[in-house]
Amino acid sequence: MKMKFKIISIILFLCLIVNISQIPENGHQILNHNVMTRTFSSKEQAINNISLAENAIFNATIKLQYLESINGIITDLVGRLNFAINLLNNASEMLNMSNYNYSVYLSKMALGNVTLLINDINIRIYQTNLYNQQSISMFIITVVIVSISITIAGILIYILIKKYKEKKFLNMKITLPEGDQ
């Protein structure tokens, strides 16, 4: 009897543990038979993808503005962003015309293009920063070298002039006034 009771209590305990493990952190119990598998309609997919592509375009614009501010080359990247924007404009147009599948296709293409573009902008920003740092270093080195050269040249010219004057002074003929002769 005792043994049966123990087995039942162990089974109950295990059931409780299994049940608890299915409760997620927010305290709502997930019941498999109640889970609603919701599939997005083409229209919703198109709207979502257009929104994602728009946000990606905003990020790309901000990054391009930064790249431009640090004197990076942006022309080719702007061309690519323009291409993605045209895709997005067409996707919005298809959405308005209720051509949802084509809108999804175009918005996904726009998103893919902008995602790749953002990576390339990041690389360009890194390269530009590196180039700018090197340029600053080169400028400082050049200034130091030029300053030292000018100083040395100045000292040498001063010494040469001094020597020349000394030589000239030594070669001078001393002519005394007539009364002193």
């Binding site: 375009i57 614009t61 431009e68 942006i74 924007i85």
Partner: protein, 172 residues
């Protein structure tokens, strides 16, 4: 003795002239440097509307509903940096309110929007394909220019807009 005095006065005059020239050079050069570093060019954006043939002489006055017609919109960026613009196209009438501070959003029908990226000191033309599914006389086809604010991360109305008056008739 008088010769020596004259020479001294000449030297003094030369010194005064020389110091005057130096002062003038310093003042002029400092003014040039100041104007060079503080030169602020005017920053602005622009929007322009052209007909299908990219001219300003043949705007459509009457179109049929649900029938496509085309226009060109020219956007200029002279803001000193690359900018992302939004061209908002709305359809209003004589009661629609639009001015420099208020867009037509609340008093007009939204038709379409276009995003446009424009480099600094450049302009870009977009081909606008429109088809309106309502019948309305004396309507205003309004094109508003909005600019993306990278700090607020949203578009802001620039107070720039253009329009054409148009009759939309029923297609047979």
């Amino acid at each position: 003795m008088t010769r020596l005095k004259r020479e001294n006065s000449d030297v003094k005059q030369e010194k005064i002239i020389l110091s005057g020239i130096i002062i003038a050079i310093v003042i002029v050069s400092s003014m040039i440097i100041y104007s060079f570093f503080n030169a602020q060019s005017e920053h602005f954006s622009s929007i322009g509307l052209l007909d299908e043939n990219k001219t300003t002489s043949n705007y459509p006055t009457t179109v049929k509903n649900n029938t496509p017609f085309y226009l060109w919109v020219d956007i200029g960026n002279y803001e000193g940096k690359l900018n992302l613009y939004l061209v908002n196209i709305t359809l209003g009438n004589e009661n629609t309110t639009i001015n420099k501070s208020h867009p037509s959003t609340n008093t007009a029908y939204f038709i379409k929007k276009y995003l446009v990226i424009v480099e600094n000191q450049r302009s870009r033309m977009i081909h606008v394909n429109l088809s309106i599914n309502m019948v309305i006389n004396n309507s205003r086809l309004i094109f508003e220019l909005w600019k993306f604010n990278s700090v607020l991360k949203k578009f802001q109305y620039l107070g720039l807009w253009t329009q054409i008056w148009i009759n939309i008739t029923k297609s047979t």
